[in-house]
Amino acid sequence: MNTSPRKSSLLEQDARTKRRNAAEARFKAYGLAAIAIGVLALIILITSILGNGLSAFRQTEIMLTVELPEAKLDKSGTRDIEVMKKVTTLTYGPILAKGLKDVIAENGIEIEGLTAKDAGALISKEASAQLRDRVLADPSLVGQTVQITVLASGRIDGYYKGRVSLASAELDSNVTPAQLLLADALKEKGLLVTKLNPAFLTAPDASDQRPEAAGLGVAILGSAYMMIVVLVLALPIGVAASIYLEEFAPKNRWTDLIEVNISNLAAVPSIVFGILGLAIFINFGGLRASAPIVGGLVLTLMTLPTIIISTRAALKSVPPSIRDAALGVGASKMQSVFHHVLPLAAPGILTGTIIGLAQALGETAPLLLIGMVAFVREYPAAYTSADGLFGEPSTALPVQVYNWTQRADPAFFERASGAIIVLLVFLLIMNAVAIVLRRRFERRW
């Protein structure tokens, strides 16, 4: 073997160095390419969602002046709510149609081939219910002439969001070009405006024919209830289990088995948890289908492995010297864990928990199985004596997205994208909270 020093210039690279440098450069290029693809995909995703969904936060409305004839709405003249409730939305429809007709006549708008019925179709089917609710809330309005703002129908709304055009209206059985021209004329007079739509966040879901009225109120409430259940159950159980397994449990075959199975559970498809929830909580436990408590329990089962795994990782990362130090001054095992190890592991535990919660918030499949896909228009109460805590039927945000994408009217596609934006905003808020809390914990030393 030749052991004498090699004679070569440092100023020129030998073949081996060149190869090594080339390999390194290639690896860096792969990495950059991977990141570029990822960023590109993210940008496309976000533009697509924002492009489709932002318009859901705006809604076209028509301002009308309507007379509320006592003869029709309150024949008894007593203004008794119970009596007035007997008057259905069918009675309110023509009142609105007349209001619109008056407005058209007043402003001298003339559109060729527009029948009175067609003109009335500009107003959403939901509008008569809106008006009825308003009258029932304030019976003194009856007999007066009031100014109200009602929703325009989904197609008219779509016209101002670029979904519907005069050309497409020719082919559409739900809207005629004449209606669109009328809408344009109303807009010119300032009677039809497209403005911010807070009802998207507060209103309940609406039926297939009235996408303009559909909102996320029930879904947000349902998701919030489930997150409360998951947080209250999964965090203490998960953290306690991890502390026991990591700090106290003897290391033997049984704990190994438990450990392996926790990792396995984290990989179980979420729909399996749905079947489990259906079988145990609804069929066996007798809880009500579609209830947030059931959804919360199922999501808790699903989130537990995530929380346990991340908590154990956080506990493991606390240096053993801290435990030695605590034991060395005569702290008990529990004191060393709760006074020293847990505070140091808290940021990691917190991050794991919030990641678990975020996962649970976006989970759809198990909720479909326990019936949270149902059409729910009533806001679920947090507690009722009949159904218990979080026992009233509800839906959830991701399920609402799924639900809306199933519907025929393209307006629901816009709503679904809008709901995704809401979901993403919630996830962003949760992550931001995680980061802020982590900073606050870490800044202590």
């Binding site: 290391k251 801290i322 435990r323 130090a325 060395g328 001054v329 030393w445």
Partner: protein, 264 residues
């Protein structure tokens, strides 16, 4: 060995810890073969020996820190003031309040300097009120010769101190619970010579109140601070006696080889 400064040897003869036939197993490995040793009160006892000879393991037996290692098994008897510390009735927590420990790497809690020292007295309920606690913290920090450096910043984090200061803080923390025995596992291995000198001086002062057992790699250090020295080799206690004798007239050839640098 001319440079050795052999310290005064006014040794008491009162035994603090008696170990008889102590074996330690790590799983199947027989880490320490029967060790008999008597550790005297108010004396600094040094354990020396090459790496892996079991001196730290034996030290950790004295306050049952080995309990925290699952695969570790200790047999034989260790008596502290005549009481068997491995008796099932003994709570290791109470034991460790009596037998304090300082570790190789300075390991202050990530809390304030004050809280570091106050932690032991707090969990053992040694003080009745804040004023007493303040006093304990101050005396402990004074004894550990670090009071003057930290008295103006007791609320700043203990982890922000230098290595030597951290180690003295750990010593203050260990003596705050007024232990009877102080175990030190290579307390100076992570320190520079100046900090080492400070800690050594401190150990000599501590001798007036505690029985100190120190594990060290440095024979010079053993010679400087201890009155009695035990030499471990390959898991056995080879020789135990007065420090001066061990270093000047070792009886066992292995001890002689080690202190003259032929093995280790």
């Amino acid at each position: 060995m001319d440079d050795l400064r052999i310290v005064e040897r006014n040794v008491t003869t009162q035994t603090k810890i008696t170990a008889r036939g102590v074996d330690v197993y790590y799983g199947d490995v027989h880490a320490i073969k029967p060790v008999d040793v008597d550790i005297l009160d108010k004396t600094v006892t040094a354990f020396i020996g090459p790496s892996g000879c079991g001196k730290s393991t034996f030290l950790r037996c004295l306050n049952r820190m080995n309990d925290t290692i699952d695969i570790c098994r200790v047999t034989g008897t260790i008596l502290l003031d005549g009481e068997d510390i491995y008796d099932p009735a003994v709570d290791s927590v109470q034991l460790r309040a009596k037998v304090g420990m300082v570790f190789q790497k300075p390991n202050p809690f990530p809390k304030s300097i004050y809280d570091n020292v106050a932690y032991g007295p707090k969990i053992h309920g040694l003080t009745r009120n804040k004023a007493e606690l303040d006093e304990v913290v101050e005396t402990s920090l004074r004894k550990a010769a670090i009071w003057n450096e930290v008295k103006d910043r007791l609320q700043s984090p203990g982890t922000g101190l230098s290595g030597g200061q951290q180690q003295r803080l750990c010593i203050a923390r260990a003596i705050a619970t007024s232990p009877e025995v102080l175990l030190m596992d290579e307390p100076c291995s992570a320190l520079d010579p100046i900090a080492t000198a400070q800690v050594e001086e401190l150990i000599d002062e501590l001798r007036s109140q505690f029985s100190v057992v120190i594990v060290t790699h440095s024979m010079q250090q053993a010679a400087r601070v201890s009155q009695r020295t035990a030499f471990f080799h390959l898991g056995t206690l080879v020789e135990y006696g007065e420090t001066g004798e061990i270093f000047t007239a070792p009886k066992d050839p292995r001890t002689e080889s080690y202190i003259t640098g032929r093995i280790g």
